[in-house]
């Protein structure tokens, strides 16, 4: 019996879809069977980030309304053998076409077969959000160090706490720009965690590589050297119960002599 986790944030553009794709991939790399579920009906993106857009034949609404069987709608990611699957969102149906009970039933069916079911929640706190949290055993709240994202995350945590899930919501602070945080231009990690008063699951540094690889349909996690990738890999290991220390956000200081004689990067 697997665990269903919803990835949510309230605010748009903080990296829900990117985080879902990368966490799913990182868990699949750890040899877990993972199913990613896109619940952003009408504006689906998860398929694009994973590079599976061209393989979609049926979607979640087809499954909910009985036009397709669940296994017919699942899109397999061939890069990870039998470990990673996607259940795509519908593109051209009404966003109210899905009901929380239908999502619950689908998630329950998926949990039988997969170790993790990751639900990619749409922005906002309307029907789509309600659908996404209905089937989840726990929530991962994504926020950036921006005050507006933290505010929305706070609102979402409040809503999640009313849901009475099996696991408490946990926080990922995404898109951290080291120099801004070190200079005190944005809230730092401790501040945000204390403010939201939920457990910190991990941090992910802002990196151009994330956008670059998404554009090619490759999750950044596949590049082991990338700093954002390491963030997601650490989070995946923590989800599996390992104790992994938080990565440092200190920038490497380059000394005077090193700058003079050191190799150019």
């Amino acid at each position: 019996m697997g665990t269903a986790l919803v990835v949510t944030s309230g605010k748009g553009g903080v990296g829900k879809t990117t985080s879902s794709a990368n966490l799913g991939t990182a868990l699949a790399l750890q040899n877990k069977r993972v199913c990613l579920m896109d619940l952003d009906i009408g504006l689906r993106n998860l398929d694009v980030v994973l590079g599976l857009e061209n393989r979609i034949i049926y979607d979640i609404v087809d499954v909910a309304q009985g036009r397709a069987k669940l296994h017919q709608a699942l899109v397999k990611d061939k890069r990870f053998e039998d470990n990673l699957y996607l259940l795509p969102a519908a593109q051209n149906t009404d966003k109210d076409a899905l009901l929380p009970d239908e999502v619950k039933a689908i998630v329950a069916e998926l949990k039988e077969e997969f170790d993790f079911v990751i639900l990619d929640c749409p922005a906002g706190i309307e029907q789509g959000f309600q659908n996404a949290i209905a089937g989840a055993d726990g929530a991962i709240v994504i926020s950036t160090p921006e005050i507006s994202a933290v505010r929305d995350a706070d609102r979402v945590v409040g809503l999640l706490e009313q849901q009475d899930m099996k696991y408490e919501p946990r926080l990922i602070i995404n898109r951290i720009r080291q120099h801004m945080m070190n200079q005190g231009d944005v809230m730092d990690i401790d501040e945000i965690t204390k403010h939201l008063s939920i457990k910190l699951l991990g941090i992910v540094l802002d990196d151009d590589g994330v956008i670059k690889s998404s554009n090619h349909g490759d999750p950044i996690v596949l590049d082991p050297k990338n700093p954002a990738s390491q963030g997601y890999r650490n989070i995946a290991r923590r989800l599996l119960g390992e104790t992994v220390p938080l990565m440092s956000i200190k920038e490497e200081k380059v000394g005077f002599w090193q700058r003079l004689f050191g190799h150019k990067k």
């Binding site: 009408g42 504006l43 857009e53 061209n54 034949i57 593109q91 051209n92």
Partner: protein
């Protein structure tokens, strides 16, 4: 002048119901006629007799049709093999026209949009990633295709897709789906996608069309 005329032909009997007469009179005449015929039939002891009925420039309503058929069905010795007319409803005519003509479509089908065409389509627009073009008949592509093209929707296996499909996400004909990323076929603007004898999606060129779809080939010759 009578409103119901019975004539013998090589291939059976033809019953003409004159469009100039009223339907009530036709019914009475038919009743009398068949009573007489039934009488003659029993005397002559012939086999089952089949009739074709022609209503000329009159279109029978469903109820009138039932009345005529019911009247004749009373007699086990007679049967109506065909009921024809010179006229059809405008809506019916329009539907037939839709089905037969090649529509020219120059839409831009964006992500999440779906355009469905009755009959054949000559597509000169653009299909963006995530857009779907569906046709019940054939699809001829001149425009840019990045999304999904589906011919013969939902179950017409005779349908073909002509054009360069190399940039498309998926090609679907009837209920067959091909993901182009997996199909390393060298496409040109003269490529044809079709369903082969094994009910699988296959590709050829326009030059093969005569053997792949002789009907379509001949139809093109007529036009």
């Amino acid at each position: 002048m009578k409103d119901v005329v019975l004539k013998g032909h090589q291939d059976g009997y033809l019953l003409t119901l004159k469009a100039t007469g009223s339907f009530e009179r036709i019914l009475t005449e038919l009743t009398d006629l068949f009573a007489q015929l039934n009488h003659d039939q029993q005397v002559a002891k012939k086999d089952l007799v089949q009739f074709k009925i022609d209503t000329e420039n009159r279109l029978l309503t469903a109820q009138q049709r039932q009345q005529v058929l019911h009247l004749i069905e009373q007699y086990p010795a007679f049967r109506v093999s065909e009921l024809k007319s010179n006229v059809i409803l405008k809506t019916e005519a329009q539907r037939e026209k839709e089905q037969d003509s090649v529509h020219i479509n120059r839409a831009t089908i964006r992500s999440g949009q779906e355009v469905t065409v009755e009959g054949d389509v000559l597509f000169v627009g653009q299909i963006h990633h995530g857009g779907i073009l569906k046709a019940t008949g054939h699809i001829f592509l001149l425009g840019d295709v990045a999304g999904i093209v589906q011919a013969g929707f939902p179950d017409n296996e005779e349908a073909v897709i002509v054009g360069d499909l190399s940039t498309a996400f998926q090609v679907r004909i009837a209920d067959q789906v091909a993901i182009m990323a997996d199909d390393q076929h060298a496409f040109t603007a003269r490529s044809v996608a079709y369903i082969n004898d094994l009910h699988l999606l296959d590709y050829g060129t326009l030059a093969d069309l005569k053997t792949i779809r002789p009907k379509l080939y001949n139809k093109m010759g007529e036009a």
